[in-house]
């Protein structure tokens, strides 16, 4: 009789233990942004003027009058095949605007029903105007949780 009691008690505790275990494990670093660095003469530089970045044909401001910028973290659109960004750089006596076209493919990424769904991107092509931007190169086309550089924006020597 004692043996049966022990058996059923152990059974009860086992079931309670199994049913009681549940945790939510969402990735902590869950922001998906495209990382760009500014370069001049092959070296990383900070911009002296203030930089404002807007999405073309919208009122969306991605970066508002940021000064001393050396690195950009820009969110890409979820559903557009290409993003058009206007980069406005201004100082005391100058104001230039360059346009950046980013073509990409996007795909969803989910982990758990408890975690928000993210959109990853793969940059396929990039073009720009050349007012103060000399050239743009893709260093890592995959835009995801990884904190690596995706684009290098090379400036003209006189555009500082």
């Amino acid at each position: 009789m004692k043996q049966k009691k022990g058996f059923f008690l152990a059974l009860l505790f086992t079931l309670a233990g199994i049913c009681g275990c549940d945790t939510i494990d969402c990735t902590l670093n869950n922001t998906v942004v495209m990382r760009c660095n500014f370069y001049k003469d092959g070296k990383s530089v900070q911009l002296n003027g203030t930089l404002t970045i807007t999405a073309a044909d919208t009122t969306i401001v991605l970066l508002n009058r940021e000064s001393s910028v050396s690195t950009l973290k820009l969110a890409l659109s979820y559903f557009n095949a290409a993003d058009t960004l206007l980069l406005n750089i201004s100082g005391d006596d100058y104001k230039y605007t360059d346009t950046l076209w980013i073509e990409k493919t996007s795909y969803t990424h989910f982990e758990s029903p408890d975690c928000p769904v993210n959109m990853f991107h793969n940059i396929t092509e990039i073009k720009s105007t050349h007012i103060f931007i000399d050239s743009v190169t893709i260093t890592q086309p995959d835009v995801n949780f990884a904190e690596h550089e995706n684009l290098q924006i090379h400036l003209y020597s006189s555009a500082d």
């Binding site: 043996q3 049966k4 058996f7 152990a10 059974l11 086992t14 079931l15 199994i18 049913c19 275990c21 549940d22 939510i24 999405a55 919208t58 969306i60 991605l62 969110a75 659109s77 979820y78 559903f79 557009n80 795909y107 969803t108 990424h109 989910f110 982990e111 758990s112 029903p113 408890d114 975690c115 928000p116 769904v117 959109m119």
Partner: protein, 266 residues
């Protein structure tokens, strides 16, 4: 690290188990020998059915078939259906899957006494090939402000895993046995869609590198192991009666012999 801890606990329990189950008592009675094919059993997992019944987020409903060899080794085959529909706690996301799974493996009975109780340690290898769905009706671009419901259907997944089991089983009545076991599961292979990993893998449980699980099996065990010496017979009162009669006959001859001898002496 968790695996080593589990294995060491398993070994420890295996070492002390003879003391737990009273094996240290010296028994002068001759040891019972089980036949090679000591029994055949089929079982159903009550835990999975109960979880489904109470509306749990996931459940593995399974049945098993096994063969007993010398009352020590129990090759076993388990087949079931894993079912999961999981709504996000703070999101509107929904994950769902329903697919079959299989496990093959073997249990070893540590209990040396043939008293109807089995203390089992075992191993299983599990397989599941499944489709899973994921939906997010409120999926929207937070920066550009465009919303588009996300509906991903029939994403393909394939998992294999290893299980280490430890459990206890007792004979309730006649051919009916009840047992439970705890399982440590570790993933050996996973192939899933690049869009996202499944939340739940049928047969394995919540998708992770390793996890714990358990089953409560109601088993119907037929064969020689089902009615061991000293227990109620499997099919039969008839057999018991026959045994009783033969016992009575034996005792009567034992009793009559000394009386006859006394008479001769008189």
């Amino acid at each position: 690290m968790k695996i080593f801890r589990f294995i060491s606990i398993l070994l420890l329990i295996s070492l002390v188990s003879p003391n737990i189950w009273g094996q240290n008592k010296k028994d002068n009675a001759p040891k019972e020998k089980a036949p090679l094919l000591s029994g055949v059993g089929v079982g159903i997992d009550l835990c999975g059915l109960a979880m489904k019944g109470v509306g749990a987020r996931f459940a593995n409903m399974e049945i098993c078939g096994r063969v007993g060899l010398k009352e020590k080794f129990f090759p076993i085959f388990e087949i079931g259906i894993g079912d999961c529909t999981r709504n996000g706690g703070e999101t509107t996301n929904v994950f769902s899957t329903r697919a079959p799974y299989w496990r093959i493996g073997m249990d070893y009975n540590i209990n040396k006494k043939m008293n109807g109780n089995r203390f089992l340690v075992g191993v299983r290898y599990g397989f599941s090939r499944y489709n899973y769905d994921f939906s997010s009706p409120d999926f929207a671009d937070p920066v550009y402000g465009i919303g588009k419901p996300l509906l991903l259907e029939s994403l393909k997944g394939n998992n294999q895993w290893l299980e280490l089991c430890i459990g206890f089983e007792t004979r309730l009545w006649s051919i009916v046995r009840l047992g439970y076991n705890i399982r440590y599961k570790t993933r050996t292979l996973q192939s899933v869609s690049e869009l996202g990993e499944p939340y739940f893998v049928p047969g394995f449980g919540k998708n992770d590198n390793n996890t714990f699980g358990g089953t409560v099996y109601l088993t119907f065990d037929v064969g020689k192991s089902a009615h061991l010496k000293g227990q109620k017979s499997l099919f039969g009162k008839r057999k018991n009666k026959e045994e009783d009669k033969s016992k009575e006959a034996d005792t009567s001859t034992e009793e009559t012999t000394p009386r006859a001898a006394k008479r001769r002496q008189q």
